[in-house]
């Protein structure tokens, strides 16, 4: 017997409480009962996004909310500045391209975070309607310096700061209103510990001003229509009812834990995973590591994809391999959402075993011991 363990940066394990809530008989969305659910969920999402703004909910993957942001905030002829330091940074300019939005791209070497000064220089050099960035770039495990970027964009009233926090929200502190983030995006299958199928977007007052003027075509992802419906606890189209009921449950758990504790836990799990990997003699890939996941360099002579495959096939554990240029060079372990200290012990232990299986000459247990010491601090 070998239990299935999920340590990928999304989907992440679904909490049992949420699973049970979602398995209850479905209710109709145009009922007072569901309106109450939505009312509670709206308040909970504002709390989690640390904003007074409405958090829009879509039945889609996170990419839907990324596309929705572009087509609702921008207009024909607009130009956007994109920070591309990985697969998800790439996605920003690909969406822009699909809608004829001109982009300038700040290409960041995979594993590195963007330099805010470079962003500042670029922003001054052109007329950009939006700066598009990831908080946690899942393909590289990098955290981009959102607070510093927010301070820069604040000086550009004609530019929106759009933050894809799909894998960051609820794991890393991103106080939307305090930092003045204009659009903050997330998805259900990351720190919220739900199955995939919900995407979220919160928009600042400044952002809603842009939306009023936007002339790009849209229908399903129409932010204005969705906001109007949500304000009376409705949705423009049939919502993903059972996921929203699961979300209601998850938000209760998160509130009980509290925002500082949630971020401290993710920071602790991240530190322990990093110490564990270093203890096992491995190098970390991200210079500015995200607390949502840890990208680890495969040791000399060992294919990172084989680490991933061995964990999958021999230990029934799903982590993530590398993508594109990082394929074979790294593997990625998440500690995101419904995760606790002993989960880190299991992931580091399994990585140590898998590496040993692949001929790595490390002393078994040194990684786990390092993680344990860190968790004990």
């Amino acid at each position: 017997m070998q239990k299935y363990r999920l340590f990928a940066p999304g989907p992440t394990p679904v909490s049992e409480a949420a699973s049970l809530a979602m398995a209850q008989p479905i209710i109709h969305h145009r009922t007072k009962e569901f309106e109450k659910v939505l009312e509670e969920v709206r308040a909970g999402l504002k709390w989690l996004f640390q904003t007074k703004n409405e958090v829009l909910i879509f039945a889609s993957s996170g990419t839907g909310a990324m596309e929705g942001t572009i087509i609702n905030t921008l207009s024909k002829g607009d130009k956007a500045l994109v920070i591309d330091g990985g697969k998800f940074g790439e996605r920003w300019w690909k969406i822009c391209k699909a809608y004829g939005i001109e982009t300038e791209i700040i290409k960041v070497e995979w594993g590195k975070a963007v330099d805010p000064q470079e962003v500042e220089k670029k922003l001054k050099s052109g007329d950009f309607r939006a700066l598009l960035v990831q908080a946690s770039e899942s393909s590289t495990g990098v955290y981009h310096p959102i607070e510093a970027l927010a301070k820069i964009v604040e000086r550009h009233p004609k530019t929106l700061l759009v933050v894809d926090a799909i894998s960051a929200l609820g794991a890393i502190d991103l106080p939307m209103d305090r930092w003045k983030i204009d659009v903050l995006i997330s998805g259900s299958q990351k720190a919220m510990a739900l199955p995939p199928g919900l995407a979220f977007a919160a928009v600042s007052e400044k952002g809603w001003g842009f939306i009023e003027k936007s002339d790009l075509p849209k229908f399903y992802f129409d932010f204005k229509k969705e906001k109007k419906a949500l304000e009376t606890n409705q949705s423009a189209y049939t919502p993903a009812i059972n996921l929203i009921i699961g979300l209601q449950e998850v938000l209760k758990t998160m509130k009980a834990e509290g925002i500082p504790a949630i971020f401290e836990r993710h920071a602790r799990l991240a530190r322990a995973t990093r110490e564990g990997m270093k203890g096992a003699g491995l190098k970390l890939f991200a210079e500015s590591p995200s607390n949502a996941l840890t990208a680890v360099c495969a040791p000399e002579g060992i294919d990172g994809q084989k680490v991933y495959k061995t964990l999958q096939e021999k230990y029934n554990m799903t982590i993530a391999g590398g993508q594109d240029g990082a394929k074979g060079k790294i593997f990625r372990v998440a500690h995101l959402g419904y995760f606790d200290d002993l989960d880190v012990v299991t992931s580091v232990a399994a990585v140590e075993w898998a590496l040993a299986d692949l001929g790595y000459k490390g002393e078994l247990g040194r990684g786990v011991a390092a993680a344990m010491r860190e968790l004990r601090k």
Copy 2:
């Protein structure tokens, strides 16, 4: 104690087997295990859609697949012919409008089906790239004559027949390949007896030819990208994993029942509901009634919305009221998906009680008796 009963035309009751399957620990979508799920689901969907074409799966509500169809098959300057006999017919031209697609609208009186001869005349009069229609128009309970329309469109090689079968697929026989339907759309929360959150679109070879030439902007609902991924049992973006696992379970049940039996059951439940309502002295709203739901005229002097509200508040049963111009005039009872004979008995009985509560002078039980006789045939 009063159990909750859901008789709305979507969402419909979720089968217990599907709920349990979806409540199991989530698996990652980039695993062999999930690839096997997708492989089985792809084959099952082709069977259910009665087509050799790939059935695309999106994490979205049905409207997403409607929008997806417009932006993938049409191009700038194209003109579409829309059959608008209700809320969902309206949605077709609203989507077209959002993307600058010119439309001609065949306005059909609510409660009536389109006259195929009128469609034939219109199609000859202009250069239409698509005929957009609902199989079952949920706002009126009407079934439009899809087979007759298909025969007409077959003579127009430059026109696609696009059928929104969101509430019809799996309830009403719509053999895609045999009838030559070019795009057939559905959603998870209707006859498939799943929660909302999945939308489907199958496209004919002719339709794929249109897609090759389409120049409208798209990203999340990009049919070509999704098809390419699906052919290797992948998805372009994170799929709604647990809904797809529920779908795998539902397709097993549907296959065990068999296609002819599924449609016969829906036809029988629909006939019995209609006989039940008539037996209670009520008039039916739809001249060409759909087997997915029954729209009933509120009796003289009784507000249809009050029938809906009484059922909700006093009998814990959700049906649907009327929308727009039909508000107050009708109520709608579904018999769609996970429904059997005795469900019809309960819906007719509850409607009889609710009408009596509202002062209707019918003899209690006459409707139920009529439904029972029909079900016994």
